[in-house]
């Protein structure tokens, strides 16, 4: 059961071979057993989960179940959930219980899915290793000395460790794709605007997107079908005809052009990662893909552009955490200013503070033009890089990360080193394009390697097609780490 796909679980539930209560209990127990070692979850609440499971069983019994009814799903602790706390991995919201559900949660609830728990994450989604969480780091289930990646580290870890059949995450600079790659599983960031951000706590508004994390392309499609859709409560949500993201899974790959950016295969890329990715590309060529060399000349600019724009938006989005209305408030203070200062000094971790400072700086008088405005101009140029590339290919392919998972603590001394590792994922968010990562082998120390696919706007179905076809003839996505002791 722990290795079953969502369709298999659904079939078992509908066929009454297992009940949602039994299934949920099994996963909850796995989560509880492993959390000391993995720390994938910030909040588990078996009573709540089982109550939902019981309701799902009743729904299935009355013949009104859908594909996801009764299936437990873990949610990144950035999605507001009524009656479960939503901490964003931060002391600032450690006691916060939202009075409403995020759009994504509403959708899963409507489908009858069960909330398995709220997963650990880098604080306020700022990070690439899940080491900045107030609730402690998440460990990579393939190697407990390694990071899980971030910021959706808890979700990726839970799915990889078979503690949850599927999970949700968010991706602002790679926070779904990178942990998926480092944990050897599949994750997808949709085109900007496809998944409503209502109830998804904002980090960088023009870059954030919610997306699914699972163990196969087919599962990602099922999850995306539930998560995607227009929401009038999010002004950046797109109104488009609804689609079945799994409709093209079985399409043959013949003639599909995969673009390989030369900038993604040059210095900075570790050999073990390069080797696994090249083998995957060779496999795809065998399956009919045409490999085309392309160039994304502005690749190097993506990091400074992102690290100006995202912190700028974050510095403003996080201004509401001031101890006045909800969340953490310093225990002692002398006046208003002191209350603000102490609350935010104590409530936020170092990485969050770093980004707020950078963001405030680049927006401030005298620097706005040179930094923020300039970064916005460059952002457009980066997007144009991709537009040009998509004239020569259908999908861009390459490594998700330059190296396999690093050790816990290895990069914490130098934040910039951490930032540089986002090189392949970050431009995708700047352009608003969809991106996904699937496992394609193992590298140094037996740690997983991810293959990234970048599609043109709204081409999620096409990307899932490539991923699914690859997964039909390989088994990387079925490999399972040893149980943590």
């Amino acid at each position: 059961m722990i290795n079953a796909t969502l369709l298999e679980l659904s079939s078992a539930l509908q066929g009454k071979r297992v009940s949602s209560v039994e299934l949920t209990r099994m996963f909850v127990q796995r989560a509880q057993r492993t959390n000391d070692r993995l720390n994938a979850f910030i909040t588990l609440d078996p009573d709540k989960s089982l109550a939902q499971a019981a309701a799902a069983d009743a729904r299935i019994a009355s013949g009104e179940g859908t594909t996801l009814t009764g299936i437990p799903i873990a949610h990144k602790d950035i999605f507001c959930t009524r009656s479960w706390r939503t901490t964003c991995g931060s002391r600032m919201l450690a006691n916060f219980v939202a009075p409403y559900d995020a759009f994504v949660i509403e959708r899963f609830n409507a489908a009858g899915a069960v909330i398995l728990g709220k997963t650990n994450m880098d604080e306020f989604a700022m990070g690439s290793s899940n080491e900045s969480s107030f609730f402690g780091p998440v460990r990579n289930p393939w190697d407990l000395r390694a990071v899980s990646g971030g910021s959706s580290g808890g979700s990726a870890c839970a799915v990889a460790a078979r503690v949850s059949p599927a999970a949700t995450g968010t991706d602002t600079g790679g926070s779904i794709r990178q942990p998926a790659a480092l944990c050897g599983i599949s994750g997808l960031k949709p085109t900007y605007g496809v998944v409503s951000r209502y109830g998804m706590v904002a980090y960088a508004s023009s870059l954030d997107q919610g997306g699914p994390i699972a163990r196969s392309a087919g599962d990602l499609a099922l999850l995306l079908n539930v998560m995607a859709g227009f929401d009038a409560r999010d002004s950046t949500s797109l109104e488009r005809p609804s689609e079945d993201y799994g409709r093209d899974l079985e399409r043959p790959l013949k003639g599909l052009r995969l673009g390989l950016p030369r900038e993604y295969f040059s210095e900075g890329l570790d050999n073990d990662v390069a080797a696994a990715v090249q083998e995957a590309l060779a496999q795809l060529r065998k399956q009919g893909c045409e490999l085309v060399e392309i160039s994304l000349p502005k690749t190097k600019l993506a990091i400074p552009v992102y690290y100006v724009l995202a912190p700028a938006e974050a510095s403003s989005n996080l201004a509401r955490y001031d101890g006045v209305r909800y969340g953490y408030r310093a225990a002692e203070y002398s006046d208003l200013r002191d209350m603000y200062g102490k609350t935010r000094a104590q409530g936020f971790g170092a990485e969050v503070k770093r980004r707020i400072l950078v963001g405030t700086y680049v927006l401030s008088h005298g620097y706005y033009d040179a930094y923020y405005l300039q970064a916005q101009r460059l952002r457009r140029l980066i997007a144009e890089d991709f537009s040009r590339a998509f004239q020569q290919c259908d999908i861009i392919a390459g490594p998700t990360t330059p190296s396999v998972a690093f050790d816990l603590g290895e990069k914490s001394a130098d934040p910039v080193q951490m930032y540089l590792a986002d090189i392949y994922t970050i431009a995708v968010n700047l352009a608003g394009l969809p991106g996904l990562s699937i496992p394609c082998g193992f590298g140094a120390k037996g740690r997983p390697v991810g293959l990234q696919l970048i599609g043109n706007y709204f081409r999620e179905a096409q990307m899932l097609n490539v991923a699914h076809q690859y997964q039909r003839v390989t088994d990387w996505h079925q490999r399972m780490p040893a149980e943590p002791e």
Binding site: L93, A98, S205, R233, S235, A319, R325, Y326, H365
Partner: protein
């Protein structure tokens, strides 16, 4: 040294939408604290703003009404600062690309008319309220007001006296009520003016250092504050000092302005376009639809009154001070198209006076305009005059019925018939030989006395014109 005062006004008008500019919470005034602030208004994690179409439409109405440019593309921007009544830690406003630029408002001071140019008008959300009394060393925050839509209207520094500033504020106030975008209730804070005041030697082109004056919640305060501030600045300059650019509060009890204990002077608000909102698009179709829905504006109405009815600028201005008084006048003139001046006199005289005495205004007429039209018809056709007309007016006002019903019930028809008046006049002449002699000797006043007596005898019903004519004739012979 001949000094000139230069004034510009910044006005915040609360737009009369039912719900807030970025959320569906209600905007109604007077609710218990924090009962009209939803998740979006209190800036919970994960909430997002959604623009209120009605607020945008009211901004378009305003732009069209003042002859401004209504931009087809404008941008919401975040104005970042920390304060407990600003839940998000930023205010959603407009900065580099406001929805309206340009335009002007006509004012008249005495007999002179002048156009005050507008720089811009933009949409933004109001903050909540901070209350410092009653909380014993703490402050109470009421977020009901947070998110209420505001139109910030900025004038060019075109005003040259406190009088002009008040005239502008009043004209603007009347206009926003006229086009139904704001209820203009200054007590409730729906219409707030800040004045930017500076002085310079007359003839110099360069503007002096200005101070911004806040807390002006009546036209009276506005006038006094500007006068005080101008005097203050002139005194400093004449003593050889410099004006510090600062924000000052007007203290009505002491009739003076004082520097405000500000959060921070010269705040850097780090404006940037709000990534949660799309740029505001106003297409031609929308603009035209709004234009078509605008009523005749006060300016054109004034001009029409002067042109078609021969009314003076002053009278026309009084009659267009508000939509309701103009509507009343229009109804009356429609019933009496040959008597615009009569209608004007009654509206500005008896009716306005009565409303004033009752502490009321033209929005609260106790009887329909048609009832008053009925009265004026009887005045115009000679049935009623002077005191009688007033008596009937009083009766109509207090709900006794229509003019005709009252005239009938009280037998108040004016006596114009010579047959009835003749003997009456004879009787008066007989009764007052002394005054008759005085008149014949040249004393005009005696005539008035005799008229008065005749009116008394007729119980006020004699047609005064007829009466005078008959009396004169008889006295001459």
């Amino acid at each position: 040294m001949d000094w000139e005062v230069v004034i510009g006004l910044e006005t915040h008008a609360q737009l009369s939408t039912v719900s807030k500019i970025f959320s569906g919470a209600p905007t109604a005034f007077g609710a218990a604290p924090n009962t009209q602030a939803c998740g979006i208004d209190i800036a919970l994690p994960g909430v997002l703003p959604v623009a209120n179409r009605g607020a945008v439409e009211r901004a378009i109405r305003f732009g069209l009404a003042v002859g401004a440019t209504v931009h087809s593309h404008s941008v919401f921007a975040r104005k970042n600062y920390f304060y407990p009544d600003l839940p998000k830690g930023y205010q959603i406003s407009q900065y580099e690309a406001p929805i309206v630029t340009g335009g002007s408002i006509q004012i008249s001071v005495g007999d002179t008319s002048k156009a005050i140019r507008l720089t811009r008008a933009h949409l933004e959300e109001d903050a909540g309220k901070s209350l410092h009394e009653d909380f014993h060393g703490m402050s109470g925050i009421d977020l009901n007001r947070a998110g209420t839509p505001l139109l910030e209207i900025v004038s060019e520094p075109d005003m040259r006296s406190a009088e002009e500033a008040v005239a502008y504020a009043k004209a603007l106030h009347a206009l926003v009520r006229w086009i139904d975008i704001c209820d203009g209730n200054m007590q409730e804070g729906s219409f707030r003016c800040d004045a930017n005041v500076s002085v310079r030697p007359r003839g110099r082109e360069r503007l002096g250092t200005r101070c911004e004056i806040k807390n002006l919640n009546s036209f009276r305060f506005l006038e006094r504050a500007i006068e005080y501030e101008a005097r203050r600045q002139i005194e400093i300059l004449e003593d050889g000092g410099h004006i510090a650019q600062e924000t000052r509060l007007y203290d009505p009890d002491r009739d003076e302005t004082r520097p405000m204990r500000t959060k921070e002077d010269a705040q850097d608000y780090r404006y940037f376009p709000d990534p949660d909102l799309l740029p505001l698009e106003v297409d031609e179709a929308w603009r035209q639809a709004v234009a078509a829905s605008l009523p005749e504006l006060p300016q054109s109405k004034r001009e029409r009154y002067m042109r078609d009815y021969g009314l003076s600028l002053y009278d026309a201005s009084v009659l267009t001070a508000g939509r309701e008084v103009a509507a009343l006048f229009d109804t009356l003139v429609e019933a009496l198209p040959q008597q615009p001046k009569l209608c004007a006199n009654w509206v500005m005289g008896e009716i306005a006076g009565r409303l004033n005495r009752e502490g009321s205004d033209f929005t609260q007429l106790p009887v329909p305009a048609s009832a008053l039209a009925g009265l004026l018809l009887r005045v115009a056709d000679g049935t009623l005059s002077g005191k009688l007309a007033k008596e009937v007016f009083d009766a109509i006002w207090t709900g006794a019925g229509s003019a005709d019903e009252i005239i009938e019930a009280r037998g108040l028809r004016q006596i114009s018939d010579a047959g009835a008046l003749d003997p009456l006049v004879d009787a008066v002449i007989q009764a007052h030989p002394a005054q008759v002699a005085e008149y014949r000797a040249g004393k005009e006043k005696a005539f008035n006395f005799l008229v008065g007596q005749a009116m008394k005898v007729s119980k006020g019903k004699a047609n005064p014109a007829q009466l005078s004519e008959i009396l004169k004739r008889k006295l001459a012979s």
